[in-house]
């Protein structure tokens, strides 16, 4: 099947203290229709930037993209004008955000905000748009759509707002939905409901979803493929089950070790934390960016950029270690 989104060798630079700082370096991944891709990594690893680059909404505008291509349904998005992009945004590519509390305009009712988006993209009368808005709210399992429509955002809980956001995002049946940490600010039960909603949208209308998260637990439940990002580079991509069971990159392994787990009885050791910090993109680095924090780092890691290794089954890893570290030690 033709991928709905094909990002290849994408590089992005933003103005920094000492001239342009590379934020994304040679990012490649693809997404098929009806597939959910988990984009994981620490804060500052470039997950959100990747999302904004796909949408062409980078802070510096189109000129921030220094190389590579973003193919959406076979159409090149880099180099499109702002006007051309506006027809894609919301209609074909929708996005939801981490903080549902601040995503809705506080001075308008939910109805107004939902119909606005519908009316930007589809030639509908306000009446028709209102009916569609109510339908969308039903789809995201809001029990009393009419009442919710007449509410101002402050009258809704975080979970409700996120549902409204998802309803808005899905209202023009986009082919690609980018969910930027949509469950981070929500409590666990609501989180589960939102994940269920996304799964439903994906299965029913074949929307491809990029699910950005630093929560590997959530990602493992939801996603069929995982892409692990580190400091603006792609560390590892592959099928979710494989990446989680047999991580090829020391960073993925470290991330997995840092997930808190419940154990029955007895005192657990301290939670594993990856030593060091994500490097500052404005400083010039050589070699593998993870090398300073990597327990397996070799001399070559500090001087040369690691090649992309194929571990089979579309599982790729950017590391010098042969066959990854799945059976290596150092991190437990």
């Amino acid at each position: 099947m033709e991928p709905i989104l094909q990002v290849s060798h994408l590089s992005v630079s933003l103005p920094g203290k000492n001239g342009p700082a590379p934020i994304l370096k040679d990012i490649s991944f693809s997404l098929k229709q009806g597939e959910i891709l988990g984009l994981v990594g620490e804060s500052g690893s470039g997950k959100s930037m990747t999302a904004f680059a796909v949408n062409q909404l980078l802070p510096g505008g189109g000129k921030s993209i220094t190389g590579g291509s973003v193919l959406f349904a076979g159409e090149e998005l880099t180099g499109k004008t702002e006007k051309q992009m506006q027809t894609f945004r919301g209609k074909d590519i929708a996005m939801i955000f981490q903080e549902p509390m601040t995503c809705l305009n506080p001075v308008f009712t939910v109805k107004r905000q939902m119909t606005d988006v519908i009316m930007i993209h589809e030639k509908r009368s306000r009446k028709e748009a209102e009916i569609q808005a109510a339908d969308m709210l039903k789809k995201v399992h809001i029990r009393d759509p009419e009442r919710t429509l007449s509410c101002y955002p402050y009258e809704l809980s975080g979970g409700m707002r996120q549902r409204v956001m998802i309803a808005i995002a899905l209202s023009c049946s986009p082919r690609l939905l980018i969910a930027d940490e949509p469950t981070t600010a929500l409590d666990v039960t609501v989180q589960a409901q939102i994940i269920f909603l996304l799964q439903e949208a994906c299965q029913e209308s074949g929307t491809g979803i990029i699910f950005i998260s630093h929560d590997l637990g959530v990602v493992s439940q939801l996603c069929s493929r995982i892409a692990v990002m580190y400091a603006g580079t792609m560390a590892e991509t592959g099928p979710a089950s494989e990446v989680l069971k047999a991580p090829g990159h020391p960073y993925t392994k470290a991330l997995l070790a840092a997930v808190p787990r419940f154990t029955s009885g007895g005192v657990r050791d301290r939670l594993y934390a990856i030593p060091g910090m994500v490097p500052d993109p404005s400083e010039i680095q050589r070699g593998c960016l993870f090398a300073p924090r990597c327990p397996h780092a070799m001399d070559i890691c500090r001087t040369e950029h690691p090649p992309i290794q194929n571990l089979g089954n579309q599982h790729q890893v950017s590391c010098f270690l042969e066959k990854g570290v799945s059976r290596g030690d150092g991190i437990s």
């Binding site: 955000f97 305009n105 506080p106």
Partner: protein
């Protein structure tokens, strides 16, 4: 849309705002209806009846020409309200335009606009208005123009701050991901969210503008006699202030009431426009 009933519901529990609104309505009505309800002609001289103390035929007394002070105060309301409102509307319109431009465009445009704004703001507003009026020549229109120029920077600063803050709001960014263009973003998300502080500032500004304009008339640069402007009336009344207290007291009282009315109303408008106070 917010209905009048809802506005009333909010106002009912807010005595001070109600008082402010009442004062403003009273003064505006007084000004509008002055030709109908005033007992005399504002410029009708009656020398035998000069400087009479308040009494049945002249509730506020008469001035040195025998003109009825109540009538003149009523007509003065017209001038003061017109002056106050037009100064604020023009200053706000110009200020908002440059303020939003400054905030949204950023960079050189922003630096240029803010440099001029800071320069104007660094003068005491009264002194600058005085200097401008002196340069333009005395008269009510020139005074209005001068006060207007002095007030513009307030709105530039207000709007710029609002736009800068709102530009970074998640819902403004979110609306761009839903395919909204810049015009839509400004019209739909930025302007409506600026309205509350703007309207509050404008209402408070009317009282302020009236006060400055009256002060200018008081020192002889604004409205010229025989115009029944409150500040100008007090200015002439100075000579009689010791023996004929009513001459200066009533125009002064009305300046106080008007300015206070607008200030109280301005504070109350914030509560009315807050969507949180509308429901239930």
């Amino acid at each position: 849309m917010m209905s009048l009933i809802k506005i009333w519901k909010i106002l009912r529990h807010n005595t001070l705002t109600l008082l402010g609104a009442g004062l403003v309505i009273l003064i505006v009505l007084m000004g509008l209806l002055s030709p109908l309800i005033s007992p005399y002609d504002p410029n009708l001289m009656n020398i035998p009846a000069r400087l009479q103390a308040p009494g049945w035929s002249h509730p506020f007394g008469t001035d040195e020409m025998g003109r009825d002070i109540l009538t003149r105060v009523m007509y003065g309301a017209r001038i003061s309200i017109t002056v106050g409102v037009s100064i604020v509307v023009i200053a706000a319109a110009v200020g908002c335009f440059f303020g939003s431009l400054s905030g949204y465009a950023g960079g050189k445009v922003d630096r240029g606009i803010m440099a001029v704004t800071d320069m104007v703001l660094s003068f005491p507003s009264m002194v600058l208005a005085l200097a401008l009026t002196a340069a333009l020549g005395p008269g009510l229109f020139n005074t209005m123009l001068a006060v207007c120029i002095v007030r513009i920077p307030l709105y530039v600063r207000l709007m710029r701050g609002q736009v800068l803050a709102l530009k970074e709001m998640q819902y403004v960014k979110a609306s761009r991901t839903f395919g909204a263009g810049p015009v839509w973003v400004v019209a739909r998300h930025i302007v409506p969210n600026c309205l509350t502080p703007l309207l509050v500032q404008m209402t408070l500004g009317v009282g302020d503008a009236i006060l400055i304009a009256s002060s200018m008339s008081f020192i002889g640069l604004g409205a010229q006699p025989p115009m029944p402007e409150w500040g100008a009336m007090i200015s002439t009344a100075r000579t009689y202030a010791i023996d004929q207290w009513w001459y200066a007291a009533f125009p002064g009282l009305f300046i106080l009431m008007t300015v206070m009315g607008f200030n109280l109303l301005g504070d109350g408008i914030r509560d009315i426009l807050d969507p949180r106070s509308v429901k239930n």
